[in-house]
């Protein structure tokens, strides 16, 4: 468990260092995620990597444990609303309206794009 968590933190740390060192416009944790994915893929190909938390489902279980309570982690940032009450009193309706319309548009456009392209590619495959 501790080794698995350390591996996850190490990936994040490596991501943060790389992002700062090369001034990449990518968040450190996202790079860390790519790094962990590469490690998991390497593990299947080389025995050298199949060690410690990368074997016997160690890191998988730790990751599932973290992801099971993803909602919880947003609460501290969300409670930050108490600092913004004056701004929300002034612009609250507009902000909530803008966010609500934008999220509906984004959901519709994304789901439509996914379905249309998915249908096009499967049709192309069955035709050929």
């Amino acid at each position: 468990m501790i080794a698995s968590l350390s591996l996850i933190l190490l990936c994040q740390l490596a991501g943060e260092i790389a992002v700062r060192a090369f001034a990449w416009p990518v968040p450190g944790p996202v790079l860390g995620m790519l790094l962990l994915l590469v490690l998991l893929l390497l593990r299947d190909r080389a025995v050298l990597f199949a060690q410690g938390p990368l074997q016997g489902g160690g890191v998988e279980n730790a990751a599932r444990g973290l992801l099971a309570h993803l909602s919880l982690m947003f609460i501290p940032a969300g409670v930050g609303v108490v600092q913004k009450l004056d701004l929300l009193a002034e612009h609250g309706t507009a902000i909530v309206g803008v966010l609500a319309i934008s999220v509906v548009i984004t959901l519709l456009v994304t789901v439509a794009t996914f379905l249309v392209i998915s249908r096009m590619t499967t049709r192309g495959r069955s035709a050929s």
Binding site: P25, P29, V81, A94, T106, F114, S118
Partner: protein, 240 residues
């Protein structure tokens, strides 16, 4: 036992222990409520926890800084949780590889839509420039969005609030909306909610369907990548 309960409160209210306990306790209750209602969209555990804790802070006159001294331990986990998304991505690599073309198309189009729509709408509603900039990265996960906001010189704490509100609204609306439209492809449904509503949407998707959850997680992590590249570009084109 302290003779004066008030001095005990003064002591405890300045300690991280109390606020960490409050955060976990309120969330556990809100989550149990959500489970009891069969994961009804309106019993969203993030939304209920957020307003209950906010009201509690206001009633007790506790500052957000004091609250955050305890809640930061939970907030910190957002980073490792993002790294942890590599695991569902790895485990579902075959499903993902098979849907790679529609996913990438939906990612680029959806991400651009999320940013452009919020910037244009915010300007149309006459919001101040600083607010417009703070809202721009609202569709990505909190840690990432706050980083983008800081690099734009916007208000990162307002961004965090916008991120959480967007997440909650997307998580509430997605199931009734997709059901009404008769969309049964859980890959597409999950991908859309993960892209539009990051981790809160992903948490919602996992409640509804495992495949939807995986695609939501992928959309959320890919969107974090693309949004960090697109927001500075969109802001240059649309705002300045």
């Amino acid at each position: 036992m302290s003779a004066n309960p008030f001095s005990l409160w003064v002591y405890l209210s300045q300690q991280p222990l109390l606020w960490l306990t409050v955060t976990l306790l309120v969330y556990a209750t809100a989550d149990a409520l959500s489970l009891a209602t069969g994961r009804h969209p309106f019993a969203n555990p993030v939304f209920n926890s957020m307003w209950i804790i906010a009201v509690f802070l206001l009633l007790t006159g506790t500052s957000y800084t004091t609250y955050f001294s305890g809640a930061q331990f939970v907030h910190f986990l957002l980073g490792p949780a993002t790294v942890a998304l590599a695991v569902p991505l790895y485990e579902n690599r075959k499903v993902v590889a098979a849907a790679i073309v529609p996913m990438l198309a939906a990612l680029v189009v959806g991400c651009a839509t999320a940013i452009v729509s919020v910037v244009l709408l915010a300007r149309a509603f006459g919001l101040p420039q600083n607010v417009v900039l703070s809202l721009a990265p609202k569709s990505v996960t909190a840690g990432v969005a706050m980083g983008i906001s800081e690099s734009l010189g916007a208000d990162a704490s307002l961004t965090a609030v916008a991120v959480v509100l967007t997440g909650i609204m997307g998580a509430i609306i997605v199931t009734p909306m997709m059901n009404r439209m008769g969309i049964t492809d859980y890959r597409a449904r999950g991908f859309a909610v993960g892209l539009a509503s990051h981790g809160i949407g992903t948490a919602r998707a996992f409640q509804v369907d495992a495949v939807a959850g995986v695609f939501a997680g992928i959309a959320m992590s890919l969107n974090a990548l693309v949004t960090s590249l697109l927001v500075p570009l969109a802001v240059t084109l649309l705002v300045r």
